[in-house]
């Protein structure tokens, strides 16, 4: 039994995985600090993010005892220096993992004090939920997302993340493009949808020039409407 601090991860997790000791979705995490069997009794502190960091899982790592996903953050985290998300405790199937892998988007869901309870299960002893970069909201005809960010660049990245959760292939084209306005954000997102439609067909057809950017405290919010 051991104790550690880390982040839970939200992602459209790939389903066709090589067989083995696969970690259940609710157990997948990024460890930031490991305490071993020494019990951590302090109150955990809120991480210094206004909004949950996210990015693209763009590779598989074959570590000593585990297979792990390698997340690339839009803005690299200070801790841990080499983040990874353990996915399997069965090693030795490198070729199958490489073959099965396709990039997918993610964001950090919460910060927790974890306690191992065995059988690849972890108990969240303390939790601080992070502000999600987007959320899907009801729309009568199309689909809509509330996208949040500190600035217009964030709105682009988080909107692209939202689209990628519906169509993961799209995340491979999200680059460090910096739009100057909401209209440029919409145009850039539509370019991503175009690339997706050409490559494999897209369930999302167009991001509309709808809505305004609203300031909510220190964050910007935009209601993105996507035609299906």
């Amino acid at each position: 039994m051991s104790w550690f601090l880390g982040y839970s991860v939200e992602a459209p997790w790939p389903e066709d995985l090589p067989t083995g000791e696969i970690l259940p979705i609710e157990s997948r995490h990024i460890t930031t600090q490991f305490f071993g069997s020494k019990k951590f009794e302090e109150k955990i502190e809120k991480p210094p993010f206004l909004i949950a960091p996210g990015g693209v899982v763009d590779g598989v790592l074959f570590l000593k005892h585990v297979v792990a996903y390698a997340p690339s953050f839009f803005e690299p985290l200070k801790e841990p220096p080499l983040p990874h998300i353990t996915i399997s405790r069965t090693t030795g199937q490198e070729e199958m993992w490489e073959k099965a892998f396709k990039p997918f988007p993610f964001y950090l869901k919460g910060f927790h004090l974890f306690h191992t309870i065995g059988h690849l299960q972890y108990e969240k002893v303390q939790s601080i939920l992070l502000e999600a970069p987007f959320e899907e909201i009801p729309h009568t005809a199309d689909i809509a997302f509330k996208v949040k960010g500190r600035h217009v660049k964030d709105l682009y990245l988080h909107a692209a993340l939202a689209l990628s959760f519906r169509a993961p292939t799209l995340c491979k084209w999200i680059h460090g493009y910096i739009p100057n306005s909401l209209d440029e954000v919409v145009t850039s997102l539509n370019k991503l949808l175009y690339l997706l439609d050409i490559e494999e067909g897209s369930p999302l057809k167009a991001v509309s020039h709808a809505g305004f950017v609203e300031e909510k405290g220190q964050l910007l919010e935009w209601e993105m409407i996507v035609d299906v």
Binding site: I137, P203, V228
Partner: protein
Amino acid sequence: MSEKGFVTYPREGDMLVPALLVASHKILQEDLSKPIEQLKNVATLPGIVGHSLAMPDIHWGYGFPIGGVAAFDLEHGVISPGGVGYDINCGVRLAVLDRKIEEKERERLVTALYEEIPSGVGRGSGKRGEISDRDYERLCIEGAKFSLEHGEAYPEDLEATESYGKIDGANLSHVSNEAKNRGRDQLGSIGSGNHFVEVGIVEEVFSEEIAKAWGIKKGMTSLLIHSGSRGFGHQICQDTLDKYMKKGYQKGLKDPQLVAAPFRSQDGQMYFASMAAAANFAFNNRQRILHRARKAFHKALGIAPKELRMIYDVCHNIAKIENHGGRDLLVHRKGATRAFGPGHPELASAFQKTGQPVIVPGDMGRASYLLAGLGHPLTFASCCHGAGRHLSRIQSMKKWGGKDPVAYMKSQGVIVKATSPRTICEEMPDAYKDVTTVIEAVEEARLAKAVVRLRPSLVIKG
């Protein structure tokens, strides 16, 4: 005073004309505040004629409400991509077969349809090498007629298609390569979202006389195809919106989503020509899907292709030049169907006495309707296009995710196949309002007359 079945919203503020909603007492119980605000906004657009209109399946859309109809003066009016919708010439096609599909034949048929007709985000039949650039351009000019020359249509199919399957004035010279690329691979496919191919049964006949004139009897098999211009139309819409926004056409409008160019301006004409190309792509797309469905019926059940006889094909996202009251107007229908009445000169001889067939799909569990247009002058001869959603996609997903919607539908007598399990959850019958309520409102306002009701049996979703 409003006519029976209509609710009038008098001019206020910047409205140039009053707004008019086709609605029954039952429909008015819903919260329609957002789409009615959009309906009133449309009434402020330059050159609008008559009323800003909405059908009883009205719901919130991009700029214009879905279910909206607006006619504009050709010289002083505008053309608005938001008044057409992203999926240009999204529409419905109905064919019938004079025999029942037996219980033991159902699985075989649904499998053949699923194999033959690309659905979901998958590919169609227009890949490079399969269709030349020249032919691609021709089909965007000629629409369904292109399929006639290539053995994928019968002359009767074109007679039974709105505008004979072709909108005049199409031109590809201002269509981007992105639009052409998106469309090419998707030709002949249904697409995702609410698009479908559905085999059903003629469950009830309301007008024996009109049904007889159209050769429809109770117990016949029906085939409904709902699809549009796929990525081609979406990209044309998006390209135009980007251009119009960049040029500032939205300035001074009540809502920037209404962005519109003067119809007679170069930008207005360029969109009209590109939109017509997308409309023709869509006519051709539905014709190709019908051709593939005919192949599937033949493959699975040995039914000769010609036995699957077309009743009609309607557009429900389009802007067209039509003559109303002796005046040529640009009529936008977004989630609304043309419903010409008896004697309209544009209709083929088979529909001269009856009025135009109007196809109104409901949901995949309850019913769809076939009506006959009455050409109501207040609505520029328009009618509804569907049931309208009751639940958003995310609400429906939350309700059905984790359950087995396919098994549920089977227990209700409907076999459903789809590329994406999520689509089935989003498209479950309870995500939609009851289409019968919409039809009652349409009949009360005398926009169209119910002819038959169709009950779904086999459904292919995207």
